[in-house]
């Protein structure tokens, strides 16, 4: 694995109001503003501005996709092994942008941001936003950076939903997209898991209708939501390999309800770690935006083929054999509709035992595929032949 890095990076901030937009129109019909966007960029934009790639992050991600904050080795980006010099998203060749989503809690305006009208955090007075709303805000950022065309929009899981939304909402902007371990619509099963997560948060006494800021946080609810999430990100096989039936720090059963099994203590650890860095209300809003996502319904009146008619981007769709949260057949639905509409489409179902999380783990195969797809797209854009 290439361990070169983009090095120390800083989060930048863009206020939509700086370009005269005090609010945006949300898919729900509401107007909302002001909005500020936290983003990071890596590499440099070329003269004809044709090498820009937008990364869309998943549920718990942030604008910090690569490099380190403050000092080398400290707080690496969530896609550090994928973004950097000579890596799949090669910062020697491309200008990479990643921004935190609308409704998130990592710098972009969300429920934990201060409502200028009240001087207090929005809480659940924050409007419900959609994947489409997140993409609208990303488009404003791209405009602000003076970029008219993106070489690629890439994302895994919920990031893949955004990438799909991009090529539908702004068909003339991305030259290509890479939709990884995603779906064109949340299934009843994935909505159900999100619903349980939300219920856990809302049922936590410390949630207080979302007004917990400045006091005790609804830690138990958030931790349970994260535990459920984590189960859906793994596979039976990967859990078996990682934990088996092994006990944590002991040899024999203690016949009580402490965290005995390794898998229990792992989930507990993941839950508690998440509480420290993720806002409970953001979890409600972001999961809700995923549940609402249905590209076929929004753009095609229920038919994915109709929705895809206006797509101009080259599409790369990747799924993972053991992903049961957004299983391969859901990616295949996107692929089938793109084929039926005669689009430029490439699809691979990557063999992996890591479940949904494979998109953050199976780096070598993904890197080989994506780096070549990007290069070929770049060459097409510049009318260059490939060997």
């Amino acid at each position: 694995m290439n361990d070169k890095s983009v090095g120390i990076v800083e989060v930048k901030c863009f206020n939509l109001s700086d370009t005269g937009e005090s609010f945006i129109e949300l898919d729900s019909g509401k107007r909302f503003g002001p909005i500020s966007v936290a983003y990071e960029t890596y590499g440099s934009l070329n003269d004809d501005k044709s090498n820009a790639i937008l990364i869309c992050h998943a549920l718990s991600g942030s604008a910090h996709a690569a490099g380190f904050h403050k000092k080398e080795g400290h707080n690496p980006g969530w896609w550090e092994n994928f973004v950097g010099p000579g890596k799949a998203l090669d910062t020697d060749k491309y200008f990479i942008i990643c921004s935190n989503i609308l409704g998130g809690c990592m710098g972009t305006t969300g429920p934990s941001s201060t409502d200028p009208e009240t001087g207090n955090p929005y809480g659940i007075s924050f409007p419900v936003v959609t994947i489409g709303d997140m993409v609208k805000v990303q488009k404003r950022l791209i405009d602000h950076l003076g970029i008219k065309r993106l070489l690629n929009v890439i994302g895994g899981s919920m990031g893949g939903m955004q990438a799909l939304e991009w090529i539908l909402r702004y068909p003339d902007v991305p030259m290509s997209c890479a939709i990884i371990a995603a779906t064109s619509r949340s299934s009843a099963q994935s909505i159900a898991f999100n619903a349980v997560g939300r219920k856990a948060i809302i049922s936590d006494k410390r949630w207080k209708d979302g007004n917990y800021y400045g006091g005790d946080l609804p830690c138990d609810g958030v931790a349970i939501a994260r535990m459920i999430g984590h189960i859906t990100y793994l596979s039976e096989e990967s859990m078996h390999k990682k934990f088996g039936r092994r006990l944590q720090d002991k040899e024999e059963f203690s016949y009580d309800f402490s965290n005995e099994f390794q898998v229990e203590s792992y989930l507990d650890h993941q839950g508690n770690k998440f509480v420290e860095r993720f806002d409970a209300n953001s979890y409600l809003y972001v999961t809700k935006s995923m549940d609402y996502f249905d590209a076929g319904e929004i753009y095609g009146g229920g038919k994915l083929e109709t929705a895809f008619e206006n797509i101009k981007a080259r599409s790369l769709i990747l799924s993972f054999t053991s992903d049961w949260l957004f299983p391969p057949h859901q990616s295949k639905e996107i692929v089938d509709a793109l084929m039926k509409t005669g689009k430029d489409i490439t699809y691979i179902n990557i063999k992996s035992s890591y479940g949904h999380d494979a998109f953050l783990i199976e780096m070598d195969t993904q890197a080989a595929i994506i780096s070549k797809f990007l290069m070929a797209t770049y060459n097409k854009l510049h009318g260059r032949g490939n060997a």
Binding site: R314, L316, V335, D336, A337, M339, K340, G342, D344, I345, T346, Y347, I348, N349, I350, T365, A368, I369, K372, F373, M375, A376, T377, N379, K380, G385, N386, A387
Partner: protein
């Protein structure tokens, strides 16, 4: 055949197929390998090309060339492709490896206006002699495997394929015979003397 055509992947059948395909047409290559043929067609005949392949390394080779490619098992149907979606659907040196060749030929003629099929001829003299005199499963340049490791589970002769087409309302529009990498113009008894062939078919 156009003499300027390069010998693609050292295979005469690919050069013939490249020669047959009309400028600017749409082409689906089933089992497209590293995309050599499609790459040639896209660059030299401005075709709208797409590949189907199952091997990851070969798929990545296609991606590198900028060719759209789908991972798909040819033993499964093409529910995602509409009738007559392509001008040409190519199946080169693969029919003998399929579990259900009949189903795929039907699919080829449903999704394509024309089908182009190439395969090694099991009726070739050299093949017959090995079986007849040695009593052993034949091996040749076109059939290099042993019986226990061959992917070829539905070997066929030229006569078999012609009869298959005749009984199913499939018209053979063009046919070219080969021995080694050489064209056999005006060959008599091709079922005995040809090592392989390329056939252009269409639904009557």
């Amino acid at each position: 055949m156009n003499k300027n055509l390069p010998l693609l992947e050292n295979r005469a059948d690919l050069s013939t197929i490249a020669d047959w395909i009309a400028e600017g047409s749409s082409v689906l290559d089933l089992g497209c390998g590293k995309g050599t043929l499609l790459n040639y067609l896209i660059r030299n005949k401005s075709v709208n090309g797409m590949g189907i392949e199952i091997d990851l390394k070969r798929i990545i080779s296609c991606i590198e060339k900028g060719i759209p490619v789908i991972e798909h098992d040819l033993n499964e149907k093409f529910d995602n492709i509409k009738d007559n979606a392509y001008d040409y659907v190519i199946l080169s040196q693969t029919i003998q490896e399929l579990t259900f060749p009949e189903l795929l030929i039907n699919e080829i003629l449903r999704i394509g206006k024309y089908g182009i099929v190439s395969f090694p001829n099991f009726g070739f003299l050299h093949v017959r002699l090995q079986l007849f005199f040695r009593g052993r499963m034949p091996k040749s340049m076109a059939l290099p495997h042993d019986w226990y490791n061959t992917p070829n589970i539905h070997l066929l002769t030229l006569a078999d394929f012609k009869e298959f087409c005749r009984t199913r309302g499939i018209k053979i529009k063009k046919i070219v015979y080969f021995k080694g990498h050489r064209h056999q113009a005006g060959v008599i008894f091709p079922n005995l003397l040809s090592e392989g062939c390329v056939i252009l078919i269409e639904r009557i």
